[in-house]
């Protein structure tokens, strides 16, 4: 029960986090009318995942292990691309927020219909297939016991609950801090997603170095425990991280964070850069 609950929580957090920050942003910047697009993307991803998962579990065809990892890994990396685009879109919008250029920003946002739908879809979809496969497997086991399925659902519900808490929390922050914090959070989350995607591709044998670990703290932070689950769910932190994962994470997070902060504090003041770089 606990084990399945933690799986649900982790997969849920991985999917929910980006969506929550996105939704908070749209709420905060007064573009609530764009929310349905996010929901549309999410619904689409959930339905496709569940359908695909059911097909793979009960249908005549299954996916090879390599294909599953390749799809999971590629979706993660595509999702990172989308989120990065989102981060900078938000940063540029933030700069003009409140000024008389708001209408122009809205026009840009309105023209990005597909972009918002895709961000929602990929944020959820990259974890969707894996989660759906687990859920169907648990559903298949319900003849013996319904606990796995209930555990997983409770985990996902907890993730959504934590997501709404986060949403409210960041909404309370003052406007200028809000953009800095959500954006910076997204950069770190996206870095984790990227490293995770790289790990999937390493497992599929598409990228090398699966056994060259930068560090392994799995004896301190158990991957199946609550701490491991939260760290994995939020930052995609793996207690046993390969060198390639670590390098990719640093190579993404440092420059993107730098560029993002520079854009947010568009003043070229050296103090700001030193403070955050």
């Amino acid at each position: 029960m606990i084990g399945n609950y933690l799986i649900g929580l982790r997969e849920g957090l991985e999917a929910v986090l980006i969506v929550v920050l996105l939704v908070a942003y749209l709420n905060k910047s007064g573009r609530k009318h764009l929310l349905p697009r996010i929901w549309a993307g999410i619904s689409c991803a959930v339905l496709v995942s569940l359908g695909f998962g059911a097909l793979l579990t009960f249908g005549p065809k299954g996916l090879t292990f390599e294909a599953q990892e390749m799809i999971g890994g590629s979706l993660s990396i595509v999702a990172v691309g989308l989120v990065t685009w989102m981060i900078f879109w938000m940063a540029s919008a933030a700069k003009t927020l409140g000024s008389d250029l708001k209408t122009r920003v809205d026009r840009v946002a309105d023209s990005s219909t597909l972009g918002l739908v895709l961000v929602g879809a990929f944020a959820v979809g990259r974890e969707g297939l894996e989660t759906a496969l687990f859920l169907w497997a648990a559903a298949r086991a319900t003849g013996e016991t319904w606990q796995p399925l209930l555990g997983a659902f409770l985990g996902i519900l907890t993730a959504i609950f934590l997501g709404t808490l986060l949403n409210r929390g960041v909404l309370k922050i003052s406007l200028s801090k809000f953009f800095t914090i959500t954006g910076a959070l997204l950069v770190i989350v996206a870095g984790g997603v990227l490293a995770y995607g790289v790990h999937d591709l390493q497992e599929a044998g598409f990228l090398p170095g699966l056994h060259n670990l930068a560090f392994d703290v799995s004896h301190i932070i158990a991957p199946g425990g609550v701490m491991g689950t939260l760290l994995k769910g939020i930052f995609n932190f793996s207690p046993a991280t390969t060198w390639l994962e670590a390098i990719v994470w640093v190579a993404y997070v440092l420059p993107v964070m730098f560029l993002y902060l520079r854009k947010v504090f568009s003043s070229p003041a050296a103090t700001v850069r030193n403070e955050n770089a």
Binding site: G3, L63, T64, F65, A67, L75, V78, A137, A141, L210
Partner: protein, 383 residues
């Protein structure tokens, strides 16, 4: 986000999904799938060997921690397939494409460490399934399998010879006679290998007719003559019998020791198969081998089995390279076996002397029919 990149993303994922599709083999979930039960400290895999191609594992977590299941390559590092996040009480499937070779299975309760590992072997593929291992690996596999077969046969030969020798030495003729032909089959199955030891073969298997002046008559056929004594033959004394019996066991054990470290090449297997058929043609189908016991058809059967094993070990090298030859050999092996089966009686066969001339001629032509394609085998397998 422009439409081009959207299209590209959809295309990439779609292609991957299609390219990665594989048969779910839903029927197999009842009979073909390998069941794995993972608990907190055990990893129970229902079998440690299966046929190459698409392999499906049903992994059930009966422990309390979340577990993972891996199929690892021979080096224990490369992941051939894995399924993660198997919650307690949940069964998840792993479908992999695996060519023949050696692997490890591993359950990882709590998702920590190297997991609970066990060796796993994938044998040659079932019909019609593609095996992507390269030829060198296939050749190695064939010769490894044959080496294992030789070891197994000599081991059984030692045990059989010990029993036979004891019965023979103690004068229990009934028992010795009943053990004679079945025990010799282990020798006859691997005759080309046994004959390759020039010092052991004559003392264990020489026929009286083939002896040259000065050679002493020992081994199996010496015992045969004493058990099925021809007219005018004076039986051995108890002491002579004991001497022959002890020597047989001793030499067979020596044969066993020497075969343990033998390594083979694909052409040795193919030529050996042909030699076995030649043995049938020159010795068994003529009734010369077992002059006194007339159990030639036992030897015939054993030679045929030995040749068939060599062919079957080599078969993955034929598939896709010379399917016509493969088909011809398969058909002719079956046909000759069917011919021979007609002479089965109980656990054994008819005695050679009870066969009619036309029956012998028929068997001889069956041997020729198999011998001819078998002579082409070597050229194909060494490619």
């Amino acid at each position: 986000m422009n439409k081009t990149s959207t299209a590209v993303a959809v295309l990439v994922v779609g292609t991957l999904a299609l390219a990665g599709c594989t048969d779910n083999t839903t029927e197999a979930s009842t009979d073909g799938a390998i069941s794995v039960v993972s608990t907190n400290d055990t990893c129970n895999v229902s079998t440690d060997t299966t046929a190459g191609g698409t392999i499906k594992f049903d992994v059930k977590n009966e422990g309390s921690a979340v577990t993972e299941f891996y199929l690892l390559a021979e080096d224990g590092l490369r992941i051939v397939g894995e399924v993660e996040n198997i919650g307690p009480g949940v069964t998840r499937d792993l479908v992999v494409m695996a060519p023949q070779g050696k692997y490890f299975t591993a359950c990882k309760p709590g998702m920590v460490g190297d997991g609970i590992r066990a060796a796993f072997t994938v044998s040659e593929s079932a019909d019609g399934q593609e095996v992507s291992a390269d030829r060198a690996a296939l050749q190695k596999n064939a010769t490894d399998q044959y080496a294992a077969y030789v070891k197994d046969q000599t081991e059984q030969l030692v045990r059989g010879t010990e029993k036979f020798a004891e019965a023979f030495a103690s004068g229990d003729e009934e028992l010795a006679k009943s053990l004679y032909a079945p025990t010799r089959m282990h020798w006859e199955r691997i005759e080309p290998v046994a004959e390759s030891f020039g010092d052991l073969d004559p003392i264990l298997d020489a026929r009286e007719a083939d002896l040259e002046a000065g050679d002493s008559f020992t081994g199996w056929h010496r015992a045969e003559k004493d058990l099925w004594a021809p007219e005018g033959y004076t039986k051995m004394s108890q002491g002579d019998r004991e001497e022959i019996a002890t020597k047989m066991v001793e030499d067979t054990k020596e044969l066993y020791t020497r075969t343990q470290s033998l390594e083979f090449t694909p052409d040795q297997l193919a030529n050996g198969a042909k030699e076995l058929l030649d043995e049938v043609a020159t010795g068994k189908v003529t009734g010369e081998e077992e002059t006194f016991s007339h159990t030639d058809l036992w030897d015939f059967q054993a030679n045929l089995e030995g040749a068939k094993i060599a062919y079957e070990d080599l078969q993955p090298l034929l598939a896709g390279t010379d399917d016509a030859l493969d088909e011809e050999l398969k058909t002719n092996f079956a046909a000759l076996q069917k011919q021979l089966d007609a002479y089965r009686e109980g656990d054994g066969f008819k005695y050679y002397q009870d066969l009619s001339d036309s029956q012998i001629k028929e068997l001889a032509s069956g041997v020729d029919a198999l011998s001819e394609p078998l002579s082409k085998l070597t050229a194909v397998v060494v490619k």
